[in-house]
């Protein structure tokens, strides 16, 4: 396993000096690399980054997000994606190339308040994020419970190689869709499994910084010990 040096940092902390590559949430001043947020710093393969513990979701191209329709314009839907930017889904993405604002009615497909799983197709600082639903498993979400967790804890909910989410899904038979923006939709046939899955997701959100979390989630869900041994606690 790679040697990764981790440390708790706050804004202004010097993480390292020397010829290293600054990555996320750090900046370089002279030869010092300084953190810009509260989080955990990592030094690996000559690169330095900080995993933030707080903050809003900043869209990245290819992220899967869950959005809520908040409005329509003649050619697109506007989405709340739990970020400081509004997501745009062009009408052609849903209706196809021959979409015409005079013929088709946007609200027939997606109405205000609908939840949609989408992918960020493009985002840069000059424009608001452009979404797409043209992929497998994307599109309108018909049923389920929406849970709002901190975007910085999404990786913990997924776990290493999806271990955490698999544990929860297998134990409760729920379907969980995780948006990188911190919105999670849980759906399940039986209500008991649904409640348990929601509880597990909220537990991960609250206890994301504690060790042995997978084990604790398992014991909460009543999964017998020793199953799924390849899950790793870090």
């Amino acid at each position: 396993m790679m040697d990764i040096k981790r440390r708790y940092v706050i804004p202004g902390d010097v993480i390292a000096t020397g010829p290293l590559r600054p990555e996320q949430n750090v900046y370089q001043e002279g030869d010092r690399i300084i953190s810009t947020c509260v989080g955990i710093s990592e030094i690996y393969e000559n690169a330095v980054r900080v995993i933030p513990l707080t903050g809003v979701y900043v869209p990245k191209t290819n992220d899967l997000v869950i959005g809520k329709v908040i409005g329509t314009s003649p050619l697109s839907w506007e989405f709340d994606i739990n970020s400081c930017f509004i997501g745009f889904l062009p009408a052609q993405d849903v209706f196809g190339r021959d979409y015409s604002p005079t013929k088709d009615e946007l609200k027939q497909r997606l109405n205000i308040g609908d939840l949609v799983a989408a992918r960020v197709a493009n985002f840069d600082r000059s424009r608001d994020p452009l979404l797409t639903v043209q992929d497998r498993d994307l599109g309108k979400i018909d049923s389920g419970e929406l849970i709002d967790i901190s975007p910085s804890k999404v990786p913990r909910l997924i776990g290493k190689r999806g271990s955490m989410i698999q544990t929860i899904e297998m134990a409760t038979r729920a379907m969980i869709t995780i948006g990188q923006n911190g919105w999670v939709v849980v759906s399940c046939e039986d209500s008991e499994g649904l409640l348990k899955a929601i509880e597990a997701v909220k537990m991960v959100d609250a206890l994301a910084h504690t060790p042995n979390l997978t084990e604790r989630v398992k014991s909460m869900l009543g999964v017998p010990e020793g199953e799924n041994n390849d899950t790793i606690n870090d």
Partner: protein, 234 residues
């Protein structure tokens, strides 16, 4: 002040008042902090980055920062009119200009970061205390910062340079100099001077204030570490 340099509230000339900071005290704000700086009691709340309203204020190239410093009607001995006074408008501007260099607003074009500072009880040096709270609240909100901002005042009372002037000393004293710095980078973001100092006195006063800022920084740091890192072991 007595002969051996003991001040009206029992402090030495180079001694700060008692400071305590609590992070994340407001649930509805994205980031918040509460500071007790001697008898000053100040709340700071941060919202954003979020959409700019009114829209014409938005900047396509960068985010903007807005600050509001407000004193509660009950913060002083005689009721203060809650409408923003000339002094409050000035301090709002001063806070904004002192915080701006520390923030990396370029990351969030077309958005705004709102900082609200409410003085619940005032006892001299409230602009410095407000800055300390606002900086911690900004870090709590996860807004990318080059460094924290630490502020502290120094002044001249009874012909001596003293650290952290309180209300009584401010009224009777000869000079008051609030200073804010970015401690890790070593840059000054605020320096005001009210009163007359000789060039030598000016230098000592500035150095005294910067020394105070560094002490404040340690307290800010401790407050953040306490909230984010002490609840769980790494």
């Amino acid at each position: 002040m007595t002969e051996d340099g003991i001040r009206c509230d029992g402090r030495r000339v180079d001694q700060l008042r008692n400071i305590s900071i609590k992070v994340g005290v407001l649930k509805n704000a994205d980031g918040s902090a509460y500071i007790e700086f001697g008898k000053n009691k100040i709340l700071a709340g941060v919202f954003g980055p979020r959409d700019v309203h009114p829209k014409h204020m938005a900047n396509q190239d960068t985010g903007i920062l807005r600050c509001r410093y407000h004193m509660s009607p009950f913060s002083v001995t005689e009721r203060k009119n809650p409408a923003p006074s000339r002094r409050e408008i000035e301090i709002s501007k001063v806070l904004k200009e002192a915080l701006e260099p520390a923030l990396i607003l370029k990351d969030f074009p077309r958005t705004v970061i709102d900082v609200f500072v409410e003085v619940l009880q005032a006892d001299g040096g409230s602009r410095c205390a407000a800055l300390d709270a606002a900086a911690v609240a900004l870090a709590d909100a996860g807004i990318p910062m080059r460094d924290l901002v630490s502020a502290c005042a120094a002044g001249k009372v009874a012909d001596r340079i003293v650290l952290d002037v309180n209300n009584e000393e401010d009224q009777e004293g000869q000079a008051d100099m609030p200073v804010a710095i970015m401690p890790s980078i070593g840059k000054v973001t605020l320096m005001q001077l009210d009163g007359i100092l000789t060039p030598e006195e000016y230098k000592t006063c500035l150095q005294t204030a910067i020394g105070g800022c560094r002490t404040v920084y340690e307290i800010q740091r401790k407050a953040l570490v306490e909230k984010y890192f002490e609840s769980g072991a790494q």
